[in-house]
Amino acid sequence: MKGSRCLHQLKSLRLLSHAGRLLPPAAAGDNGTLFRPRSSSQLGGLQCAQREVLRHFHSSPACTKGQPARFVQEEDKTRDKSLVTHDDLFEQVAKEAKTKATFNKVIDVYTKGDIRRRGHVEFIYAALKKMPEFGVEKDLTVYNKLLDVFPKEVFVPRNFIQRMFNHYPRQQECGVQVLEQMENYGIMPNIETKVLLVQIFGEKTHPMRKYQRIMYWFPKFKHVNPFPIPEQLPEDPVDLARFSLTRMANEWDAKVTVYQLPCTDVTESGAEVTLPHIVGIQSPGQMEALAKHNPDRPVFVEGPFPLWMRKTCVYYYVLRADPTPPEEKIEEPYDPERCFSYPLQLDLDLDRDLGDDESFDVEDLDEGPVFAMCMTSQGDQATLNQWISGLQESNPILGQIPTLFRLGAGPRELQGVGDADSASRSWFPSHVQREEAHPGEEAEAVVEEAEAVVEEAEAVVEEAEAVVEEAEAVVEEEPRRSQGVKQ
C-alpha cells in the first residue's frame, strides 16, 4: 500500500514537471487538487496515471478558463467572465431574498461550479462574514455545509513531518475560524462536524483541537447561569413584561396584574390613539408593608431602570419609599403562633467567637422598601398615574399617601434621600431612542403634590377619564409610536 502510494507521488511529480506548472508546489492546496490516494491505490497503475494526467492537465491556470462553464446551472445568473470576488457572489443573491435557502444555494453553486474548489478559503471567509445578514449564523446545519466546502482528505497529514510542520496552515486557520464563529454564537457542534473535521483535516490538527476544546468547555458552562433566560423570549409585550417582572421579583408569591392591554383607539376627531400596556407586580408582603406605611411620608415612582435579557432591554418603574428614620421604627414583637416548628426568638446569653462570626463588617444598606414594580412601553406620568390608580384598588392607603414622580430621560440609579429637591422640569416621555440616553442626566419631575392626589383619589372615574385625555394629548404631541403597541 505504502509502496504504491509513493509510486503515485513520484508519478505525479513527474507529470507536474511535464505540465510545466508555474505555481510553487506549496500553493497546490489552494487549487484544490482532489488527490485521492486511498481510493486510487486500489486500482491499477495505468488508470491512476490516466486520472493523474487528466487532473494535472486541467489544473494549470491557462486551461481552465473554459471549463467551469459546463458546470454552471441555469438559475446561476452570477457567473461572469470578469474578475469577481466571492463577496459579490453573495451580494448578487442578496438582492433577491436573504434566507437560509438562498445561502445554501450560493454554497451549492460554488461547490458544483468547480470540482477543484479554487479559492475555497476566501469563499468560506466571505460566507462567514455574510452569515449574519442572511440570518443563518445560529444554524448548525449551515456551518456543517460550509465545512463541507473544504475538499476532503487533501489536507490530512500523512507522515510525522507533515504533522509537525502545520500542514496546510491557511486551511487550518480557516477551519479554526469557522469553529470560532460557532463558538462566538454559542452553537454546539455535533458528530457530523467531527466527522467532517476528521475527513478534511485529520486528527491532532488545529481545527480538531479547537473542536475538542469546544466540546469540553461548552457543557461545563451551559448551566452556569443561576437566572436562566430562554432562547426565545416572548414576542408579545405583555408576556415579556410578565416574564421579566416575575424574574425581578423577590418573592415567590408576587402576583402580576395587567392594568391595561395595548390597544389602538380612534377618537371622534379621527386621530389614532395608542394606549400602552401596563403590567404591574406586587406581592402580599409588599401589600402589607404598604398598608403599614406612614401616610405622612411620600412614596416615589422612580424610573425607568433598564433590565437586559440577552439582547433585549426593557425598562421598569418602581414604587418605593425612603427608609424610615430610626426614631420612627417600631419593632413589632414576633407572633409566637406564626411558626410552630421552631422558636422565632431566643433569649440566650451566648456569644459568638471570632471563628464563628459569619457576617461581614459592613453597615447594612437600608434603601427603603419597594412596594411594587411595573412595566409599560410609554413611561410618562399619565400612564404611571394609571398604574397607581390601579394599585389603589388593592392598596387603598395609596389615596392618602402623596406620590412623587421621579422620571428620568434614561437609565439611572435609584436616587437617595438627599436628592428630593432639584429643579422641577416639565415631564416628557422617557422612551426616546435608548442609544442616545446619556447616563449622566438626572431629570426629575416633581409634579404631583399631596392635595392634587387626594382630590383625584376621591373621584376615581373622573380621574380615569382625565388620564385618558392626558394620554391622548401626549400621543398627539408626539406622533412617534411607542414600542410594543399593536396595530
Partner: protein
C-alpha cells in the same frame, strides 16, 4: 506546532468570546518568524506604529509632588514598622487566624474610587464608554456607560465592545508591590445590583515568568436585574485559567496567597447602556465548601 497568527490581546480586559484578531487573511504565508513575539512590552494599540520615547523623559520632576511623595511613603513605612508589633498584616494574631470574613473593598467615600481603574475599548479606537461614580448616598460604586460593538477601523481588530473595571495593585511604601493574601479564605462574596447583564470576574495573581503576565483566572457573574440587591458567592475553586482571554488547556486552581488585582469585565455583544452597582467585595471562608478545583487538572490533550 502553533499557528503563526494566534490571537493578540491586551491583558485582563476581555472575555473569551470577544477578541481582537490580527489580519483575517494574511496575504502571504509568513515564512519568517512571526511578528508577534511571545514576550511583550507595553501594550501596542493595534494600527499604531511603535513610538520611540527615551526612558528619562517618562519621569516627572516636580518639587511639590516630590514632597508629597516623601511624606506619603515615609508614613507608609512607619505604619509597616509599627504594624508588626500588633500582629501579621496589622491585625492581632487571633483575628488573623480565626477570621472568617474580610471585607476587601467597600465604597464608602470618593477615595475608594481611586483604587479602581476603568477602561473600555475606547483605548483601541472603539466607541464604548464607561464611567465610575459613587452611587446613592455615597455608599456604593456605580459603574455605568454604553457598549458599542462596532470594531475600530484599523484593519486588525475584528471584534470589539467591552468595558472593564479593575482594582489597582496594592502598593507598600516606595511603590513596592504588595499582594492580597486570601489563603485562609475560599469564597468570594459580592453584593451587587446589576441590570441583568452577564459580567466576568477576573482575578490576577502574581506570576514568576514573563510569559505568564497575562494569566487571569475568570468566572462569570450573572446579574439578575431589578431593584433588589444580589449576594453573589463564588468559591475560588471555580475560577478557570485564561491567558489573553483564551481559556487554557492546563488548568490549575488560583493561588490565593499572592493575589494582585480583581476586575469586572462586560463584553456580552449587546449594544446599549449598562450599569452595575457594587456595595462591597469581601472574601469569606465557607466550611461547607470542600471542593478543591472544579475542572480536571490532568493533561487531557496530549501534545502533537
Amino acid at each position: 506546532m502553533s499557528l503563526p497568527r494566534i490571537t493578540h490581546l491586551p491583558s485582563g480586559r476581555l472575555l473569551s468570546t470577544i477578541l481582537h484578531h490580527q489580519r483575517l487573511l494574511p496575504s502571504i504565508i509568513p515564512l519568517t518568524v512571526p511578528k508577534r513575539a511571545v514576550i511583550q512590552g507595553e501594550y501596542r494599540r493595534p494600527g499604531q506604529p511603535k513610538k520611540a520615547k527615551f526612558p528619562w523623559k517618562k519621569i516627572n520632576f516636580n518639587f511639590s509632588k516630590g514632597l508629597e511623595g516623601i511624606k506619603k511613603h515615609f508614613t507608609l513605612l512607619k505604619k509597616e514598622f509599627t504594624d508588626r508589633w500588633v500582629g501579621p498584616e496589622g491585625k492581632p494574631i487571633v483575628e488573623h487566624m480565626l477570621e472568617q470574613n474580610r471585607v476587601v473593598w467597600e465604597f464608602r467615600g470618593p477615595e475608594s474610587l481611586g483604587e479602581w481603574t476603568v477602561s473600555s475599548d475606547r483605548e483601541i479606537g472603539g466607541h464604548s464608554e464607561a464611567y465610575l461614580k459613587l452611587g446613592r448616598n455615597n455608599n456604593t460604586c456605580f459603574l455605568y456607560g454604553t457598549l458599542s460593538s462596532t470594531p475600530p477601523r484599523d484593519g486588525e481588530t475584528r471584534y470589539s465592545g467591552y468595558c472593564t473595571m479593575r482594582s489597582k495593585q496594592p502598593l507598600a511604601s516606595f511603590d513596592r508591590k504588595k499582594h492580597h493574601d486570601w489563603s485562609s479564605f475560599n469564597t468570594l462574596h459580592l453584593r451587587v445590583r446589576g441590570d441583568g447583564r452577564p459580567w466576568m470576574i477576573n482575578i490576577s495573581a502574581e506570576t514568576y515568568f514573563s510569559h505568564q503576565k497575562d494569566d487571569i483566572y475568570c468566572y462569570f457573574l450573572y446579574t439578575r436585574g431589578g431593584p433588589y440587591w444580589q449576594d453573589v458567592k463564588i468559591p475560588f475553586s471555580k475560577f478557570f485559567l485564561t491567558h489573553r482571554g483564551r481559556i487554557q488547556d492546563d488548568q490549575h486552581p488560583v493561588w490565593l496567597d499572592k493575589v494582585n488585582t480583581i476586575g469586572f469585565t462586560l463584553g456580552d455583544k449587546a449594544d446599549g447602556p449598562f450599569q452595575l452597582e457594587i456595595d462591597f467585595i469581601g472574601v469569606c471562608k465557607d466550611y461547607a465548601h470542600t471542593e478543591e478545583f472544579a475542572y480536571e487538572a490532568y493533561k487531557r490533550n496530549p501534545e502533537v
